[in-house]
Symmetry: C2
Subunit: 266 residues, 2 copies
Amino acid sequence: MTMAMKRKNESEALRNILLIISYDGSRFHGWQAQPVRGCEEDRTVQGVIESALAKMHGHRVPLIGSGRTDSGVHAVGQAANFYTDIASIPEDRFVPALNSLLPRDVRILSSRSVHPDFNARFSARGRTYRYFLNCALTPFAHEIPYSWHIGRRPDLVTLNRMAAYLCGEIDFTTFTAAGDQSPSRCRYMYGASFFPEGNKVVFEISANAFLWKMVRSLTGTLLHLEKSGAAPEVFKQILDERNRSLAGPTAPAEGLFLWHVRYDSL
Amino acid sequence: MTMAMKRKNESEALRNILLIISYDGSRFHGWQAQPVRGCEEDRTVQGVIESALAKMHGHRVPLIGSGRTDSGVHAVGQAANFYTDIASIPEDRFVPALNSLLPRDVRILSSRSVHPDFNARFSARGRTYRYFLNCALTPFAHEIPYSWHIGRRPDLVTLNRMAAYLCGEIDFTTFTAAGDQSPSRCRYMYGASFFPEGNKVVFEISANAFLWKMVRSLTGTLLHLEKSGAAPEVFKQILDERNRSLAGPTAPAEGLFLWHVRYDSL
């Protein structure tokens, strides 16, 4: 038996569990567990959930996330899977079991058995983010960690005309962060739009996948262009130029929520 | 000149400034500045604002709040006034001046000059609170500090039939906390109602004033009665009995927001 076959047999004997996860990113160094540097590890969402899984299982259980989120970014619909050898727990009971072991800034919203081949990262067909812009002159104190305070009502017509260009296969080189390692800067956009919600404006954007810091770079640039009175076509030109130096400021992490990850195969 | 006249003349020479204040109560020991116990003072909203005022003025400036809020209770419309001897700052510029000195879990929303006799506590004609009930099976992580997780959709018809009794002059002895020192347990109710808001239910209640922990005791009791299937009249009977032992559990502080303080004289 080859190693690959052996691993396949082993993983088929285990149940593959998909978790939907909400977290308040304020006190996390992002999603991804960090390699230990010196004696103290950064607090990450993956890290605290893997600690809870290790407590339940009595051994290390790797957790596969749909993708990373940065320091300070929140989630209401992150998805992640792991293989469990605990046969006695019904699929939906991982919710209370894990929540009782987790700090309250991470909550498991649902758990279910999925196909052994399911992979939260590679099986994902689309990701949706929401970015919250706070339009109040002075923001309410309890809303500060969850929105970007722009202190004005932006022009939604202009913003939505710009956002209308975010559709289909697009090369996002303009909105690539320095240090990005992606082999391709092309992503398939399902759509993007701005809509009002109380004293806030929400920017919702969906794509097959996103480059690192791409949503925050897009949001910052769109708001910068709208504020400076640029025509919607200017945004299209900036996109087409594929030149990082044309992007505007990056919007802060605290306004961003990973909203939903879409899977076809479930 | 009597002491009272002297104080009156002095206070008339000063401007009386009314602040509208928002705070995230999570990391505060309530509104009221505590007397120092041992070497460390509890962190209170009044305390941090008085510290900022002292920095601005170069001397202590007492702040008069509309009323206290407990540890963990939030506010989007707390009101408070102080007398300032700084003549050079326009009335509305206390907002940026104070916000630049305050931690970000307290925000001054507005500032204005009011009559020298105005007193945020004694001039207040009404207070409105909102209590947020979180109905989601599992709450989103970022909503946990700002709502009470009840994990079910309560019956709004029953709750609103009960809340309809909260109108006019009422003796709230049933909903008085142990240790309450109020000379009278009667309060004048302007109204109370439950309404849905996304995955939450909001309980809004307005009165001339409230007893200590009264809103949380009412909320906990109403939800307890609704859950147990009691008829709305049972709530009326409990109110009429004026017996503390008939009140249900007290709802947690984190779901409560001081929403608005009403003044006639402005």
